[in-house]
Each structure stands twice: as structure tokens, then as C-alpha cells.
């Protein structure tokens, strides 16, 4: 190592030592301050803009709001009603809830079998499912469009539910299986000895013990579907069924850079994920990290 004689750093004991250490850390504080500003300003700017009247938005920067105070909820009124974000909010919920519950339940059942039932080719099938985890959705677009048209489900939500479920499944199976195999073997064996069926063990033993893993995946998939644009672009063609992401894109296409609409629209889209973030931060972070293998 480089410096041999330097004394090891001790915890600062006195006030003066603390001040010295604080000053020594000044570059660190400055760097972190710059980072915090860069990370906050874009979102805060749009948030403020969403509450400013249209003529103000076009005349002066949002940062002048502090000198020239003007506040309105009119933009939200417009975007919810006239631009259709209100009904799109409902559509987003209708798309997201089944697209989360279906892969969660179907994936959990499969994950249980992959962890606690032995059957032929179990590990091979599991490996194939894991491999499907990173397949881009683009790899299925053309045939799925045809398939949904031939099945006659392209006019409603069925297509997008199915597509989200299928593309969410590999991660569900992977994550939940990795959690299920960490459950104590004795517990499962004891239930078997007591004569519990696999279905009973799955429902009464494995699922109740796996709430954290189920929550992490559930949150990840919920946010994934809620924030998705490409599936909505491809599989939802009826304008009455548009989720919020697609509605914002359409608003942008129709009205151009009208920030009183875009800012309030984008904030309505962000509300639910932000609530999830602040309310369930631990599961949220775990879910996103777990989802990062996708």
C-alpha cells in the first residue's frame, strides 16, 4: 500500500474534529448536491409546469413561477376530460390487474412444481423457460398480431392480457422457484406425511410463506405493465380502450408540444408508480432488482 505512516482514521469525537471532517468532505457534498439537482430538476420542472396556466407556460420558464405566482388545476381538468386521460386511467387499471394476477398465479403454480415435485425433464423445461426470459417482445409481434386477429380477440383487452401474461411468466417462474426451493424441506415433507395433496401444500404451506417473493414479483409486473407502451401500441387499436401511455403519445401526436396537457398527463401516469414507490419501497426495490434479469 502507498502511505505507510498515516494514522488510521478515528471516529470524530469533538465538535472541532467534526467540523474538520465535514470540510474535508466538501468535494463529496458538492458532487452529491450537483447530482441531486440534476436528478430532481427535470421532474420538479414538469410537476410545476403541470399546474401553470397555458399562456404562462409558453411565455416564461417554470423557474420564474416563484417570482410570478400562478397556479391552476385547469390543465388536469382538460387532460382528464377532453384528452380522455380519465377513462384511460381506468383502462390502464383494467389492463394491468389481470396482466399481473394471471402470471403471478400461473407462475407460482409452475414454480411449485419445479421446486417440490419431481417429474421427467423437469430441469430441462425449467431451463428453457429461464432462457425465454430475455426474448424481446418484437420476436413475437408479427405472429401474435395474426394469431389475435384470427382468434378475433384483437378488438378488446384479451390480446394484451395474454401477451403480458406470457411475457411475464418466465420471470415469475424463475423468481418464485428460486424462493420456493429455499423453504425448509422438513416442512413440505411433514405435510406430505400428513397426507396433504400437492394442491393443499401449495396453497396452505408454500404460498403463505412466500408473501415477500410474491409481492416483489407482483410489484415488478404491475409497474412493467402499467408503464408499458409497445404492447399497447400494437395490441390496443380501439381509441376507447387506450391506456394512459398510449393516450399521451396520441395527445402529443394530435396537439404537438402542448405542455399544459403533456405535463399533467405525464403526472397522472406517474402517480400510481410513485405511490407504490413511497408506500412499498422495500418490495419495490426488490421487485425491480429481481426484474432486472428480464
Amino acid at each position: 500500500m502507498t502511505v505507510a505512516a498515516e494514522t488510521p482514521r478515528q471516529p470524530a469525537a469533538t465538535v472541532s474534529q467534526r467540523i474538520v471532517r465535514f470540510i474535508a468532505r466538501t468535494p463529496v457534498h458538492i458532487a452529491l448536491l450537483v447530482i441531486a439537482v440534476i436528478w430532481l430538476v427535470p421532474t420538479v420542472g414538469l410537476a410545476i409546469t403541470s399546474f401553470r396556466p397555458r399562456d404562462k407556460i409558453q411565455a416564461t420558464g417554470w423557474w420564474t413561477t416563484f417570482n410570478d405566482f400562478a397556479f391552476t388545476l385547469h390543465n388536469y381538468d382538460l387532460v382528464l376530460d377532453n384528452a380522455g386521460m380519465g377513462s384511460s386511467f381506468v383502462n390502464s387499471v383494467i389492463i394491468t390487474v389481470p396482466s399481473t394476477i394471471l402470471p403471478l398465479t400461473i407462475g407460482a403454480a409452475a414454480a411449485y412444481a419445479f421446486s417440490w415435485i419431481s417429474f421427467p425433464f423437469r430441469d430441462t423445461i425449467f431451463l428453457i423457460i429461464v432462457a425465454l426470459m430475455v426474448v424481446p417482445i418484437q420476436m413475437a409481434l408479427v405472429p401474435l398480431l395474426r394469431l389475435f386477429r384470427d382468434l378475433g380477440v384483437s378488438d378488446w383487452y384479451v390480446g394484451i392480457w395474454l401477451a403480458h401474461t406470457a411475457f411475464g411468466l418466465p420471470l415469475a417462474v424463475f423468481l418464485l422457484r428460486n424462493f420456493f426451493i429455499t423453504l425448509p424441506r422438513d416442512l413440505i415433507e411433514a405435510a406430505r406425511v400428513d397426507g396433504a395433496s400437492n394442491l393443499r401444500i401449495f396453497l396452505r404451506v408454500v404460498l403463505p410463506l412466500s408473501v415477500p417473493a410474491l409481492a416483489s414479483y407482483g410489484i415488478f409486473q404491475f409497474l412493467w405493465v402499467w408503464n408499458d407502451l409497445i404492447m399497447a401500441l400494437v395490441f390496443i387499436s380501439d381509441s376507447d380502450l387506450f391506456p394512459m401511455t398510449k393516450r399521451i403519445v396520441e395527445t402529443q401526436g394530435t396537439f404537438g408540444a402542448e405542455y399544459h396537457l403533456l405535463a399533467s398527463g405525464a403526472f397522472l401516469l406517474m402517480v400510481v408508480p410513485l405511490i407504490v414507490f413511497f408506500a412499498l419501497q422495500r418490495y419495490f426495490v426488490q421487485g425491480l432488482l429481481a426484474g432486472s434479469v428480464k
Partner: protein, 321 residues
């Protein structure tokens, strides 16, 4: 509790009335996985094979294959399509080259910034606040990220904050970030780095905290300064998490779509086009199903090595059998 040993792996004690097929464990396993396997088979695996078939044909607007063209779609993609790969000039341009730019810049900057913030934040008391601020954009939809940054990049310095800073503090003329072929890619890359750095930071921060305190303390006793500790101890121990983050970011680049579609739609001209946005345009604007399928196959080929790396890592960690 019954302590009667039950013969074999069968869960159910003998004597219950159930069809033989259900009494065998293996069949129960297949029943449990059946819904998942059927859905994955029909909606992922079967379309995947069909996309490969499509890539060797031309389709009409109803996506029926009307003729077989062999490798012509791929040949056109790599030799005659200047939107995808323009080799007329040097350096080459086009969607594929843009993805490479992204893979290099977006990946290294997100990783570097994530590491920097993770390391710096451990030195201050407000660590959790800084980490939350940087992580929040992970929750925001790419569509909203695009709107946020479109607003930041507005050319009018009375609207866009980026140009307001440039004109007021640096006396530079406003830059039309998203309207110029030479700035548009860097502008979008920066916006997406902003959205993804939180991921790298959280992974690397967790890895940093996982390094045993005794190692750091021992180095300090030996007189190592902070830089030496970072360079010789922390950095080498972070190599696996950094590889994991890099792979995730690279997969992100290959699938990159939403943020570009909303911010520029691939423009100006085709300056910010990437593989996924071009695939979308070929399919919906040009109605070329076969050609779009060929682009999708290229995406799969690019993802494949990362998929293999992931699986081999899972296997070495015994996460996968």
C-alpha cells in the same frame, strides 16, 4: 401427527379414491406447469419460430406470406438499407450503429455514475435521501421520461431548462438538442442514463455494503488511504455485480424503444433511429411483415450471447440446476 411411513414419494396415503393418473407425482407436476407451458408455448415459443419463418418471406398488409425470398431480407438489411446500416460514409451510420453507440455510452455512463454515487453516498449522513432521489426515475414510465426530457430540451430558453442554463450561465446560443443529427443521440442517451443510473447505483451500493468491514479496517490499519481501499479492495470485489449491471443495461439497449419513439420517433430524418423503432416502422408504417421479422431476428441474435451468459451465471450460482 401420523408417524406412519408412507411408501415412495407419493404424498397421498394409499386407499384414497383417485384416478391412478393423479396418484403419480410426475403427472401432478405436469398439471401444475401445464398452464404456464401452454401459454409460453403458444404465445412466446411458437411465435418465435414463426418470426424466423417470416423473416425468409415477404408479406402482404394482412401479414400473409406471399412469397419466399430466402436470405434477401437480411441481405437488404445489411447492404441496401441506409436506415439500418449506412456504410457510404465513414464512420458508418444507421439504426444498428446507433444501438452500438448506445451500448457503449449509455452502459458505461450509467455504470460509472451509479458506482460514483454509490461510493460517495456511503460517506454522508443523507445517503438514503440521495439514493431515493436517484432511484425514483426507475418508477417512471419511459413515456413520461420522454415527456420530462422533451421539456428540458425545448429550444426556447424561456421554456426548456437546459437552454436556459446554457444561455444565462454560459452565454451560448440555444441548441436544438433533439432537432440536430449531431446532438440528438447524445441528448436521448443522457435522458435515459438519468432514468437508469438508479438501478446501477442500488445494485452496486448493496454489493459495497456486502464487503466485510474487517477487510476495510485491516487495510486502514495498514495505512491504506481511501483511494487505495477503493482501487485495491472494493473495486475488484465489485466486478461480478458490475458485470451483472452491464448485461442488464446492454439488454435494455437492444430492446430500446419507448423513449425514442416518444421523444423523436427516430428523427430528425433517421438520425436517432434504433433497431426496435425501425422494426416498428417497417411493420406498421410500411406494412412489411417479413422485413420487420428479419429485424426482430437480428434483435434475438444480439440478445442471445447475453442470454447464454445469464444462464451460465445462474448455473454457476446454483440458482438453476
Amino acid at each position: 401427527m401420523s408417524s406412519q411411513p408412507v411408501p415412495g414419494p407419493v404424498g397421498r396415503p394409499r386407499g384414497r379414491r383417485l384416478p391412478a393418473i393423479f396418484r403419480h407425482q410426475g403427472w401432478q407436476g405436469l398439471l401444475f406447469i401445464a398452464p404456464a407451458v401452454i401459454l409460453l408455448g403458444t404465445l412466446v415459443a411458437y411465435p418465435l419460430v414463426w418470426t424466423i419463418v417470416y423473416s425468409f418471406g415477404d408479406t402482404n398488409s394482412r401479414l400473409d406470406i406471399v412469397s419466399w425470398v430466402g436470405f434477401d431480407n437480411f441481405e437488404r438489411l445489411f447492404t441496401r438499407d441506409r436506415v439500418f446500416l449506412d456504410r457510404e460514409d465513414f464512420p458508418p451510420e444507421g439504426a444498428l450503429v446507433n444501438n452500438l453507440k448506445w451500448a457503449f455510452l449509455y452502459t458505461t455512463i450509467s455504470l460509472g455514475l451509479g458506482l460514483l454515487i454509490a461510493v460517495l453516498a456511503t460517506r454522508v449522513r443523507y445517503e438514503s435521501i440521495i439514493k431515493a432521489i436517484v432511484f425514483v426515475p426507475m418508477a417512471i414510465a419511459a413515456t413520461a421520461v420522454a415527456i420530462i426530457w422533451k421539456f428540458v430540451y425545448e429550444p426556447d430558453p424561456d421554456i426548456g431548462v437546459a437552454n436556459a442554463v446554457l444561455t444565462n450561465f454560459f452565454n451560448v446560443d440555444p441548441i436544438v438538442f433533439l432537432g440536430r443529427a449531431d446532438t440528438v443521440n447524445y441528448a436521448i442517451i443522457f435522458a435515459y442514463v438519468w432514468a437508469s443510473t438508479g438501478f446501477a447505483m442500488v445494485v452496486l451500493s448493496a454489493a459495497l455494503k456486502g464487503i466485510p468491514e474487517e477487510i476495510i479496517e485491516a487495510a486502514k490499519t495498514d495505512g491504506a488511504n481511501e483511494w487505495a481501499i477503493f482501487r485495491r479492495i472494493q473495486f475488484p470485489l465489485l466486478s461480478l455485480p458490475m458485470a451483472v449491471v452491464t448485461v442488464w443495461l446492454t439488454i435494455n439497449v437492444i430492446k430500446l424503444f419507448d423513449v425514442i419513439y416518444v421523444l423523436t420517433g427516430g428523427g430528425p430524418g433517421n438520425a436517432s433511429e434504433v433497431i426496435a423503432t425501425q422494426m416498428f416502422a417497417e411493420l406498421f408504417a410500411n406494412g412489411e411483415g417479413g422485413y420487420a421479422a428479419a429485424i426482430a431476428v437480428v434483435m434475438l441474435v444480439l440478445v442471445l450471447p447475453l442470454m447464454i451468459w445469464n444462464i451460465s451465471r445462474f448455473r454457476s450460482e446454483r440458482v438453476v440446476t
